[in-house]
């Protein structure tokens, strides 16, 4: 059975995403020495096919950094960069885009941002969350997101998507920060918040 989520639960998750992405934004700002803005995160429970489309144009070329989280809270963090944004970020860090080195650098950014987000959640909820090393892939956005959903065993009919945008204030550059929790992970999280 796929669990359904109430508005109150989704509000609470949105607030957690807000704090998590605030932390990630601070980390990115320190890393780049640039001010970073964060959009108000969206928290939605969507049918799987809609979840893929809500995140990005499925056929658009994108670079994704995928960071699996294990522990009490099973989830996957995905950072998605569109080509122009990836190029800006690489320029700021003095790297050639779409090279082995730049992929490794983006992976490291994903790691730092993902860990700051997850640490904030862990500190608030007391849940054990263990991020694994990131993987960077350049492909169609839809293929990246759909494969994460399939690989991470999101087998129910709904996927929960926590979606934040991080913007560099001084550059035309943004990236999508997605948290895709498993239903077990979310159950655990809501239980800790007393919102089962």
């Amino acid at each position: 059975m796929t669990p359904k989520y109430s508005d109150m639960q989704l509000d609470a998750l949105r607030e957690l995403a807000n704090i998590g992405s605030g932390n990630a934004g601070t980390a990115l700002s320190q890393l780049l020495g640039q001010p970073v803005d964060i959009s108000v995160p969206a928290a939605s429970a969507l049918p799987l096919a809609d979840a893929v489309e809500a995140v990005a144009d499925p056929e658009a070329e994108a670079t994704g950094v995928v960071l699996p989280i294990f522990g009490d809270f099973d989830a996957t963090v995905v950072l998605l960069f569109l080509p122009d944004d990836e190029a800006t970020l690489c320029r700021l860090l003095g790297m050639e885009p779409h090279t082995e080195d730049s992929f490794s650098m983006l992976g490291e950014i994903g790691n730092i941002l993902g860990c700051s987000y997850v640490n904030a959640l862990a500190a608030m909820t007391g849940l054990e969350m263990e991020p694994r090393p990131p993987e960077t892939v350049a492909d169609m956005a839809g293929a990246i997101v759909a494969s994460v959903l399939a690989t991470r065993g999101i087998t129910g009919d709904l996927a929960l998507v926590l979606d934040s945008e991080l913007f560099l204030e001084n550059e035309k550059c943004s990236l999508s920060f997605l948290m895709l929790p498993s239903h077990e992970g979310i159950g655990e999280l809501l239980a800790r918040l007393g919102l089962e």
Partner: protein, 158 residues
Amino acid sequence: MVRMGELATSSTEGDVLVSIGLGSCIGLALIDVRRPIVGLAHVMLPTTTTEEGPEAKFADRGVPNLIARVKKLGAIRLEAVMVGGAQMFSFGGDGPSASIGPRNEAAVREELTKAGIPIKAAATGGRRGRTIRVHVEGTRVTVREVAGTEQELYGRTS
């Protein structure tokens, strides 16, 4: 547009069935050998774990569902083309989830063998995502990788 877990059929000239961004998912095209009747299923996982969800989500049910739907349109003898089943990530460790793409491919092939439908062409495996297009006109099937060009996998020479 055939999205994750969905299927579609057509015998209308000019129609094109499309599944965009197949990673570990499989796009299975079925084509009638004589008439312009086609179907496309976007399979996400090998075996059914829940009754919920769209009708082509799982290979073990999605393939028979697609066969039944193209036969309803009048298809008699079918041929298959498969696209997708890539392994995009290596994490997931040693668990079965690490190899979801290859397992999807094996499950779809098994269902086709059971139904006695030959696979005429395939672009499967590897690490790249793909898009499949099934054209009713000329019953053509094409595949494209990211930033790549459209390649023809199947087509009836008229």
